[in-house]
């Protein structure tokens, strides 16, 4: 295995996940449950798309094949996307959206903390900037999981329905991956096992405050975002997001 490819795949995993999550948040525009939430959802989305641009810029530099961050974002097909399966899931109701955000934020925060210690200064620099934003994201999404879990009977029921819709996709946040272990050995990434432990601890604490039951660890299933094997949702998301650059490939915007 080539460590340069490992790193590239990892940059895409970080960048694509932030971009796809940001795209899902854009879909909330004008539809949030309160004006304050319009602001917050767009704010978080803006942070994430900004981070995606930083990761994809670096990925494009390492690729050095003439493609830039926009090309990576808007011209790659779903089989080439490396985002977490979790973030491509549809928004559903506000319970699904906030639980998805929380699972992602809890993973994201630990991942970035590890990256801040990376021997690659570029990785560490991008991560340090993102970490400030994601600390805020996690605080906010944890609070919402708690509010909705420990709110009314209806909000509790909706959270109970949201959990099984998303839980199986949390396996990829905690399952070890050979490439990540190699990157960890090379001093580039945090120990994936540590990220997994910290994620589980955060989820356990917040679920307990939210009076929500913690399901059994999810088992392996066929899909694997690391190999570009996505759910059926990503293709449609990309079709919308990429429509203009695909229709006018020579255009400057």
């Amino acid at each position: 295995m080539n460590p340069a490819n490992d790193l590239l795949d990892h940059l895409l995993r970080l960048g694509d996940s932030a971009l796809v999550q940001g795209q899902r948040l854009c879909e909330w525009c004008g539809r949030a449950p309160a004006l304050e939430e319009e602001l917050a959802l767009m704010n978080v989305g803006l942070d994430l798309v900004g981070q995606a641009r930083n990761w994809l810029d670096y990925a494009a530099e390492r690729l050095a094949d003439g493609r830039d961050a926009d090309h990576l974002a808007f011209r790659r097909d779903e089989r080439a996307y490396r985002n977490l399966l979790l973030v491509e899931q549809p928004n559903g109701d506000f319970a699904v959206t906030m639980l998805k955000q929380f699972f992602y934020d809890a993973w994201h925060l630990e991942t970035l903390k590890g990256l801040c210690q990376s021997s690659d200064p570029r990785l560490a620099g991008i991560a340090a900037k993102a970490l400030k934003e994601v600390t805020y994201h996690l605080r906010r999404s944890s609070e919402w999981v708690e509010r909705l879990g420990d709110g009314t009977e209806e909000s509790h029921q909706r959270m109970l329905l949201a959990i099984p819709r998303l839980w199986r996709f949390t396996r990829e946040l905690t399952a070890p991956d050979a490439a990540e272990s190699r990157l960890h050995q090379a001093g580039l990434l945090a120990d994936p096992a540590q990220v997994a432990d910290a994620w589980q601890a955060t989820v356990a604490t917040v679920f307990s405050h939210a009076t929500l039951p913690l399901p059994e660890a999810p088992s392996h299933f066929y899909l694997d975002a690391r190999k570009g094997l996505h759910t059926e949702h990503l293709g449609l998301l990309l079709a919308q997001m990429q429509s203009l650059p695909r229709a006018y490939p020579d255009a400057v915007w």
């Binding site: 939430e37 808007f74 009314t152």
Partner: protein, 333 residues
């Protein structure tokens, strides 16, 4: 962005001689350019007019997120997507400032929003037009925010302190949006291909007249303006502001290399202004009455968002109550 056609409920402006002592001292403050603050006495009609105007302004910010939300998922580059998201976020923030300013007058946010949803309260007519291609994101920034700025720069001097201060903050961000919008169009015209240049002209053709309508009815059909001007809520007439907007926008249009969809537009050296054609007032009043191209969709989206979000708001209230109760119990123990 903006309020057009705000009822004052006043048929005739009272001369100073007919005013009570309170009314006279209020009017003297206004005439002396002293800002009115929340705790000061004010005529009830002044208060109600401002509530209508500021809430209409706030509603416009919120409904105005929808035509842009239509393209935020399809912005063609990461930079454009970030700009548009930042702009939409600013608009939600402007809505929040304005609702706060409105609440200093004793109005209730939820009640005013309910009036919007029932169709009783208005929002700017411009947001009832559809965004049909990417250039609309540029044209909305340039023309729509541009028209808003012309209006709002003057409102920085409006007589009610909280409204005037909100305008100062909002104007700074709006100017930024306007420049970004213009830059989108300039890039498409100068570096884009034929299809993109056609998009730009098409966007201008569709949005030009609706942008001019944002200034409200012509002065002769603006019965509420006189009282609003006497109270210095409004500082300049609809037609004056519209003329200023046209005069400053036409050179920008020429720099783009685009044309104006008004065959009667021409420079009048004698007046030192552009002459322009007649606005389709029938269309304007139809849109205000709810019969514009997107009135139904815009209100449906807002109503749906409120209905879908009811359980979320209820959960937040219930959770806050539980937390407060737990705190009281632990303090007592």
């Amino acid at each position: 962005m903006y309020a057009q056609l705000v009822e004052t409920g006043v048929k005739r402006i009272k001369p100073l001689a007919e005013m009570s002592e309170q009314e006279r001292s209020f009017q003297e403050k206004i005439d002396g350019e002293i800002k009115i603050e929340a705790k000061n006495w004010m005529p009830e009609a002044y208060r109600q007019t401002l509530i209508r105007q500021i809430s209409q302004h706030a509603h416009s910010e919120i409904v105005g997120m929808l035509p842009e939300g239509n393209w935020v998922t399809r912005a063609p580059t990461l930079k454009r997507k970030l700009q548009l998201m930042a702009k939409i976020q600013d608009e939600a923030g402007h809505g929040l400032y304005l609702y706060s300013a409105m609440e200093t007058l004793g109005a209730d946010r939820d009640e005013e929003v309910a009036k919007l949803h029932s169709g009783k309260a208005k929002y700017s007519s411009i947001f009832n037009y559809p965004t049909l291609n990417w250039a609309d994101m540029g044209a909305v920034g340039w023309l729509v925010d541009g028209a808003a700025i012309v209006n709002q720069v003057v409102l920085q001097r409006t007589s009610y302190g909280p409204y005037s201060r909100a305008m100062v903050r909002i104007c700074k961000e709006e100017s930024f949006h306007q420049r970004q919008g213009y830059e989108i169009l300039l890039t498409m015209m100068r570096e884009g291909n034929q299809a993109q240049r056609e998009m730009v002209q098409d966007a201008i053709n569709r949005l030009w007249w609706p942008a001019l309508m944002m200034f409200g009815p012509s002065d002769e059909h603006s019965p509420n303006s006189a009282q609003s001007m006497a109270w210095k809520i409004k500082r300049q007439s609809n037609d004056e502001l519209r003329q200023r907007f046209i005069d400053q926008t036409i050179p920008q249009l020429q720099l783009l290399g685009c044309t104006c969809p008004d065959p009667d537009l021409k420079w009048n050296a004698e007046r030192g202004h552009y002459d322009f054609g007649e606005i389709q007032w029938d269309e304007f009043y139809e849109v205000l009455r709810g019969n514009g191209p997107c009135n139904q969709e815009r209100l449906d989206t807002r109503r749906q968002a409120m209905a879908d979000g009811a359980w979320v708001r209820a959960a937040a209230v219930a959770h806050a109550a539980k937390k407060a109760a737990r705190k009281t119990r632990s303090n007592a123990a």
